[in-house]
């Protein structure tokens, strides 16, 4: 053989092969463009979602940390803190930062802080982050500016880091928690976990779409491959080049995609950080999220897996090609197993696994089911055109499996995100309502007697129209039912109209009236879940050393409070009960809060009171979540749009390959208009069917997120709501996609079609 020149010298493969492979794209640049665009958009989308989620998580973590780190030093004698206290504590080596709250004569509340004093809070903490922000922005100013304001009211707090221990303090001082706003930690965490789960779903959808577009491209290049094979190029060599080609393409497209995704997230997410800043009173720098490496690597892996999964699994192909009934059986088994597992799964991992199973099963089953259904309808149809239409639908469902499944997933995701977001919105609203049931919230200063205030308020009841109030006492008790489990006591009196707005998870008959009469108590959802307590059960509590029995009148939602809590009538607390915290919730009605605070200051003999304006807090909190929810919706809608465009593209390509047969209808004497109508009905049947099939999946996903994942992750459940109007919107959207495909086809019908050359895949002869 030595003397014989090889038919193709080695240079042939190195030069000709890539050229031959690429020549396809030279002739069909749009296909390459479509694939590249799909990679870029998919990367952008996922990076955006991922970036936003991690950014939101970082921000929430910071806020939680910042809130958690807030503790303050107070005087044991209950007197207001002064500058001397600040100096004395600093000289004693205690890290304290002044927090001067000033309500000016005109204008809104100001908080003055001292960035120099805050230096000892250390890097990376809430307090020092405050310094990275412009202080002239509201509500922070330098304490010098705050002190200079002509103030109606001014109060100095001394904040100290979490690390400060009571033993670090000089005599006469003690530590106390300091909170100016509600801690949304658990609620936020839960939302983010769900958001992350949806991020994975976005990744799956984009992978499906990528695969669809890539396989379409491969099918269109089949002729080139056949030609190369005739030239003596082995399939292995072609595959190697295909791997290289997709790797290069992925690399070239993923990087700008990641850049765009970050840009998108930054553009959308900027406001998110701002809103958080507002809520937590501390400017929180929304973290940069992941760097570049993670999204680039993830997307590269997704592109390669989605496009070349077949090549990688080539050697198993024999085992993979299962007969149709076996495949259907397997898919059904996956689906059923997933559903059962999601129902009964004991831990988060199981439930996530179950979700994966259900999606795999549904994705596998849906197109087959649509095809099957179409066949069934066709066989029962006496009208030949209808029969033809159903048969075509079956072909479509099989040929467009990937983009259809992607659209189904996207629709399901949008549906569940919508339900989730709306549920969360609702929950936040009620949670805020529960936390901020009154318009104002006045702390009872150390050493003062809350009951005196109660007496005064009772005496005013008649003279101040619209006055609503109750006294709140917090402390702890032991639950004897559960081996002396420590529970928080939340006691109110009188049990008035402010409380009755609370939504209860479970309740006995007339629970509030019973509680008001001093009988029984309520427990939070956490305690009910952990101790398996129900309405009507008896609680054996040791309150202030005295055993007392209460019957459970109701279970109230706690939205993530991890500690068991008992709600009692404060009148039933014994004298020995150790009050840890006491406050008055007041909705002052017409005259405003000033007469109330003035009177309470007089009664308690203090110069200043800690008054929280719940309206402002509610406004801030609502602002934050509105924005986050809007962002989440925007992101999922983008996914849907991507899925829709992919289907549109694939549908168009598919219809083009089949144009000959649609024209055959014209040859057979149908008018172009009639044929176009048939195509429209076909496309609508397809996308409408997918929407209908997406509904149960989406509803199920919502159920899993709300009723399974959330309780498992956080020990509390959200109410699940259904929004049929939104389902209808989704269906209409899906039908609109169908109409667009049909419109594209109508244009194609006008031009003469080429007869399909062979019966290979994607040339129009599929049945």
């Amino acid at each position: 053989m030595k003397g014989l020149p090889s038919l193709f010298p080695p240079t042939f493969h190195t030069f000709f092969l890539p050229g031959g492979l690429l020549s396809h794209y030279r002739r069909h640049p749009l296909q390459l463009l479509a694939l590249a665009a799909m990679i870029v958009i998919a990367t952008m989308l996922w990076t955006g979602v991922n970036h936003l989620t991690s950014q939101a998580r970082a921000s929430l973590n910071q806020s939680e940390q910042a809130v958690a780190e807030r503790q303050q030093v107070v005087r044991n004698d209950g007197r207001a803190l002064a500058i001397d206290d600040f100096v004395a504590l600093r000289l004693a080596g205690v890290c304290v930062m002044p927090w001067l709250e000033v309500t000016p004569e005109t204008g809104s509340r100001l908080v003055g802080i001292d960035p120099l004093a805050a230096h000892c809070f250390g890097a990376g903490t809430g307090a020092s982050q405050a310094l990275d922000q412009p202080l002239d922005g509201k509500p922070f100013v330098d304490v010098y500016a705050a002190a200079g304001v002509s103030a109606r009211e001014s109060r100095l707090y001394l904040l100290t880091p979490e690390a400060t221990q009571a033993t670090d303090l000089p005599g006469g001082y003690s530590l106390k928690t300091f909170a100016t706003s509600p801690d949304t930690g658990e609620l936020g965490d839960s939302f983010l976990l769900n958001l992350e789960a949806l991020g994975v779903l976005v990744l799956l959808i984009t992978a499906l779409l990528l695969r669809a577009v890539y396989l379409l491209g491969l099918a269109q290049r089949r002729a080139s491959f056949v030609l190369l094979h005739r030239f003596g190029v082995s399939p292995e060599q072609v595959q190697r080049w295909l791997v290289l080609e997709i790797l290069v393409l992925a690399l070239v497209c993923v990087v700008p995609g990641v850049w765009l995704g970050r840009w998108l997230a930054a553009g959308l997410g900027g406001g998110f950080g701002q809103a958080l800043d507002g809520l937590f009173d501390i400017p929180l720098y929304a973290g940069q999220g992941h760097g570049w490496i993670t999204p680039v690597l993830v997307m590269l892996a997704v592109v390669v897996l989605a496009c070349l999964g077949d090549l990688i699994l080539l050697r198993f192909r024999g085992r993979l090609s299962l007969p149709v009934p076996v495949r259907a059986g397997l898919a059904t088994a996956l689906l059923v197993a997933g559903l059962v597992l999601a129902w009964l799964g004991p831990s988060l991992a199981w439930v996530f696994g179950a979700v994966a199973l259900v999606f795999a099963g549904a994705g596998w089953l849906t197109p087959a089911a649509v095809a099957h259904l179409a066949y069934w309808c066709a066989d029962r149809s006496q009208v030949p055109l209808a029969r033809w239409r159903y048969r075509e639908l079956a072909v479509l469902a099989r040929q467009l499996t990937l983009p259809l499944v992607a659209l189904q997933f996207a629709l399901a995701m949008v549906l569940s995100v919508q339900a989730l977001v709306t549920t969360f919105e609702d929950t936040f609203d009620r949670w805020l309502g529960q936390r901020l049931e009154a318009a104002y919230y006045i702390e009872v200063p150390a050493g003062a007697d809350g009951r005196k205030a109660a007496e005064w308020l009772t005496s005013q009841q008649a003279s101040i129209p619209g006055l609503q109030w109750h006294r709140v006492v917090r402390g702890q008790a032991q639950l004897a039912n559960a081996g002396s489990l420590q529970v928080d006591v939340f006691a109110v009196s009188p049990v008035g109209s402010l409380m009755r707005a609370w939504a209860l998870v479970e309740a006995a008959d007339q629970p509030w009236e019973t509680l008001a009469s001093g009988e029984g108590g309520m427990i939070n959802e956490q305690l009910a879940r952990r101790q398996r307590l129900e309405v009507g059960d008896s609680l054996q509590l040791i309150v202030g050393d005295q055993p007392q029995a209460f019957s459970v009148l109701g279970v109230y939602p706690d939205y993530g409070r991890p500690v068991g809590e008992v709600l009692l009538n404060a009148e039933t607390l014994p004298e020995t009960f150790n009050i840890r915290f006491e406050s008055i919730s007041v909705s002052p009605g017409e005259p405003g809060i000033a007469p109330v605070t003035d009177a309470l200051q007089r009664i308690w003999g203090v110069n200043a009171l800690t008054v929280r304006d719940n309206g402002t807090i509610r406004e801030l909190a609502t602002g934050v979540f509105d924005q986050t929810f809007a962002l989440t919706r925007a992101m999922t809608l983008l996914t849907l749009i991507l899925a829709a465009s992919a289907l549109l593209m694939m549908g168009w390509v598919f219809f083009s390959t089949r144009a000959w047969y649609f024209r055959l209808l014209v040859v057979w004497g149908m008018s172009q208009r009639e044929v176009a109508d048939q195509l429209q009905r076909l496309a609508l049947l397809l996308t409408g069917g997918i929407a209908v099939l997406a509904l149960p999946l989406g509803i199920w996903l919502t159920w899993v997120l709300v009723h399974r994942i959330n309780p498992l992750a956080f020990g509390w459940s959200l109410p699940m709501a259904v929004y049929p109007a939104f389902w209808l919107e989704l269906c209409i959207l899906s039908l609109a996609i169908g109409l667009s495909i049909a419109a594209l086809m109508r244009r194609q019908l006008g031009s003469p079609a080429v007869a399909p050359a062979s019966a290979s895949a994607l040339t129009g002869d599929e049945r």
Partner: protein, 362 residues
């Protein structure tokens, strides 16, 4: 108000991007605010200004910047060398005449920011902490009589005769509690206390206490070390220390075994450098050293920081090699700079301290 906040923020934000601050020492602050508040309101030292004791141990609110600076070369009971630093800076955000009363603490005034640095260097380890406070509140300040300089619980206080001082400071994992015996009178540098920092006349008032015997305890990670040794205390104040274009300085204070002592510094700029120093012979009066009489040469760098030097004063047959011990002695505060003990060899042996600012260190 905004302007002052701006400065304060500048001061703090510089900490956030310390990569750039290597160029600009804290003394550079004196130049940072130029033109913002009329310079004429700040007193600028110059030739002819005289020192005045004990008043000059106290603060100079009409000057923009000043510091109280102690470095100490100590050794533990078993003879291991231990370096130690305590510094307190005052940075004026607004000048105040000596006659003007201090603002009321109740206003949370913002006329001055105080910063304190404490560091301990032992066995190649460097412990450092930084504290900040606003002035005129009572939590940070200085008085001449009785002599006291404090920021929170870091305190230096003198006795009635001001010849015995007590110094306490503590940071994360370290603390010290020292007694300082002050021997000898203050040494005025430069022209009777006016120390020129450039050929064009910028400079500061500068005096030192060079003979301080120190005893006490240093606690490092819970281990209590009994230490003794000698210290060097600098007082310096100015309103414009660095001339535009100057990038930083190299400063040395050396105790030679011969009993002689030496202070020398070099200010670097693009075109060259400005050297100055004071030779303190064991016997006799201190001698001013001009740029021509001193020579300073870098011999070796450790991560961009020159750690080995050659210092010569030909007129006194002084030819010294200065060596920082192994380790990283960067004070990583708002304005990172290098502060390390040095060993002296060459024509004389001895020990001392070296401060290097304005090197790109990160």
């Amino acid at each position: 108000m905004n302007r002052r906040m701006g400065l304060l923020l500048g001061l703090l934000l510089f900490a956030g991007c310390s990569g750039d601050t290597g160029d600009e020492g804290f003394a550079g602050l004196a130049g940072l605010e130029q033109g913002a508040v009329s310079d004429t309101l700040y007193l600028q030292p110059g030739p002819g200004v005289r020192l005045s004791f004990p008043a000059d141990f106290g603060p100079h609110p009409q000057h923009r910047i000043e510091w109280w600076y102690l470095t100490a070369n100590l050794e533990t009971a078993v003879g291991e060398p231990l370096g130690l630093q305590w510094t307190q800076f005052r940075q004026a955000l607004e000048p105040r005449a000596a006659s003007e009363p201090a603002p009321a603490a109740t206003d949370w005034p913002l006329q001055a920011a105080w910063m304190a640095h404490g560091a301990v260097s032992w066995k190649g380890q460097h412990y450092f902490a930084e504290k900040l406070a606003r002035g005129d509140m009572g939590s940070a300040g200085a008085t001449a009589v009785p002599f006291k300089v404090w920021l929170d619980n870091w305190q230096l206080r003198g006795n009635a005769d001001n010849d015995r001082w007590h110094l306490q400071a503590a940071g994360d994992g370290w603390s010290y509690d020292l007694t300082l015996s002050i021997e000898g009178a203050p040494v005025a540098h430069g022209e009777e206390g006016f120390s020129a920092k450039s050929a064009s006349g910028e400079g500061s008032m500068y005096f030192s206490l060079v003979d301080i015997a120190i005893t006490g305890e240093v606690t490092l990670d819970g281990e209590v070390l009994v230490v003794r040794g000698k210290g060097w205390f600098d007082r310096e104040w100015s309103s414009q220390l660095l001339k535009t274009g100057q990038k930083g300085w190299d400063w040395f204070a050396l105790h030679l075994d011969s009993g002689d002592k030496l202070m020398a510094f070099r200010l670097r700029d693009d075109s060259g450098s400005f050297l100055s120093g004071t030779w303190l012979p064991a016997e006799g009066d201190p001698v001013r050293l001009s740029s021509e009489e001193l020579s300073l040469k870098e011999l070796e760098r450790r991560k961009d920081v020159p750690v080995r030097w050659q210092l010569s004063i030909p007129a006194y047959q002084v030819e010294l090699q200065l060596n920082a011990p192994p380790g990283d002695y960067l004070n990583r505060g708002l304005y990172p700079y290098w502060e390390s003990p040095v060993n002296v060899s060459g024509s004389h042996s001895g020990e001392g301290y070296m401060e290097l600012t304005g090197y790109r260190t990160q």
